[in-house]
Symmetry: C2
Subunit: 360 residues, 2 copies
């Protein structure tokens, strides 16, 4: 008989958590038992898994007793507190928060790019930032084939990256504006920051808080995570990465203009050919048919969509592309479930000895 | 007594035309008579100029008899047909359409950048593309002070760039989506193109039709116009420019992430200092106060707002900035009126002999 896995979803009621449930249902993982964990507030709520009602439980350290696999998306502070407890109890955790991503003991994995990094996990595997995932899925086949020297990305990020409440705020503000009322911003650009600005019919060039060199945390994530995923830390200097992250009034689906310089000088047609057979990538690029990726057509899909592929006509070896993906699926829930699926396939759902100490 | 000018506005009922009227009212130009010209359809409509009702007239060649100055924004084909007629009748034309922009006999002017190009006009002066204007206003002070080698721009362009009907479509689609109905796209991305896609809660990486090398016409405009304005045609190769243009669900106010490489290596603080005293520029850049340009705060203003100024930490001499302006004011109506104001100030409101033949 196939082994059945006991799976816990931490943050099960959120925008990513609910999609983790749905992606897990559609995955190849044989799920025996499921535990839906959330904060005290959500206890009593019932969600469905494979047609069965499951009551939401409060997430506490002992929630992880007997659990094989944890999919976490309840916030960085909660992962920081609870995932070491899960590891201590023998559960392997795939964490969608940013808390452990740059930890040397934690592989940061996009299965299409660096699935082998899973082999050396210590109980916690990090799911990268949404805007980073879709970019590296599109860049890795190019790097492998033609070499990659530099990346300059501008993002067009959906409200959903800040959770369901940010999507609700976008819709509410849009209705306020259409009704001729003032828009009331309470969450964006950053829930915990001092000021809030409307996103509806507007653009906010701030995602997460400001840090070193006047880059936002989101921009640093794209720089650092891209290097860790594509190169590992040792070769981080081999590709230059820089970013500007902008929130746009779209509920779901991040867009990115990715400008990149390769080591070789392929034609745009050669780049399209490589992307056309790349895992997880769908090329949508036919100007004669006005075919290009859009958030409304990417929503609900697991793939990363790439279009507008063309050369910088004055810089040989430099190119543009336009990348769109569902930030809540490939950018979060699906990538996490995909990691879990690989862990199962490779029989890696076990915590190596000594792991718990690494996260004390 | 000061000379009074007879001014005609061609396309007076459109999104740009109505703003030309308003900007002209607020200008220093002594307007004697005003003629509001539009298509047959609009004849009978009444608009106000300085509190007086003015009837809209049909635009025909003889509309320009006795006219000193024409401000045109009725579409490229209409400018192509009527402006040579206006020049023949001795009227100096400031044309907001793209028709004459790359014509060697037509100066393409952003007053903050190349106002002296007006001196050699031949009756037609072109008002550049909206997304180009705000970018060169921000780049020119940097070029003058530190030298400029390369520009890579991604735009976040408002619906208003495609006219009032595109703004109306955006609002209608937004209401449809909020009501749970399918969004009906009829205009965007390009009125005359085969397919139409919703812009509300979406992103459209196509502005204008596709052309050479899979760039859109809008992208080529940004490349070619930037060079003509900043360098003149002779030095066009001295700055490399490349662009990706994306339409975003914002009614008014274009955003741009502008990545640029300078000849020298100033600090971001030095760049900010230069921009702080540059004409037409307002620096909004204080991460500690979450201060940065936004379309909702730029709307209705004549200035170009610049923020998020910072260095590419891995490429000395390369920088990011985020530029926002009201695309219907600085990007169109105000820049045109500003040109007209300069023509008046320099006593250049006359058509040099032999000009009419140039546009036959």
């Amino acid at each position: 008989m196939t082994k059945q896995y006991t799976v816990a979803i931490l943050g099960a009621t959120g925008a990513v958590g609910t999609r983790m449930i749905e992606q897990l249902e559609q995955s190849t993982i044989p799920v025996g038992e499921i535990h839906l964990l959330a904060s005290k507030r959500s206890v009593g709520k019932k969600l469905k898994f494979n047609g069965q009602e499951v009551a939401v439980e409060e997430a506490v350290p002992d929630s992880f007793n007997g659990v094989d696999l944890v999919l976490a998306s309840a916030g960085g502070d909660i992962s920081a507190r609870l995932l070491p407890e899960a590891v201590k109890r023998g559960a392997v955790c795939v964490d969608n928060t940013s808390h452990f991503r740059m930890n040397d003991n934690v592989p940061l994995v996009v299965p299409e790019v660096n699935v082998d990094a899973l082999e050396n996990h210590h109980g916690i595997i990090a799911d990268p930032n949404c805007s980073t995932i879709q970019m590296v899925v599109a860049l890795e086949p190019i790097r492998k084939q033609f070499g990659l020297k530099q990346v300059i990305v501008s993002t067009y990020q959906a409200a959903g990256g800040a959770g369901q409440s940010a999507i609700n705020e976008l819709y509410r503000e849009a209705q306020e504006k259409l009704d001729g009322k003032p828009m009331q911003a309470e969450i964006l650009p950053v829930k915990g920051d001092k000021k809030h600005y409307p996103l509806a019919f507007n653009l906010l060039p701030q995602i997460d808080v400001f840090e070193e060199a006047d880059y936002t945390h989101e921009e640093w994530k794209m720089i650092r995570e891209t290097k860790k995923i594509m190169l590992g830390d040792k070769f981080a200097k081999d590709i230059k990465v820089t970013a500007t992250c902008v929130r746009v009034p779209v509920p779901i689906g991040h867009g990115e203009t990715v400008y990149f310089e390769t080591a070789q000088e392929p034609t745009p047609a050669e780049i399209k050919q490589v992307l056309a057979t790349a895992p997880g990538v769908v090329v949508q690029d036919d100007p004669s048919q006005q075919l290009y990726p859009q958030p409304v057509t990417a929503e609900g899909k697991r793939d990363t969509f790439v279009g507008r592929i063309r050369a910088d006509v004055e810089n040989p070896g430099s190119y543009h592309m336009w990348v769109v993906a569902d930030n809540l699926l490939k950018g979060a829930a699906w990538n996490a479930v995909q990691i879990a699926q690989e862990l199962v396939k490779r029989d890696l759902v076990r915590v190596p000895e000594g792991s718990a100490e690494l996260f004390n």
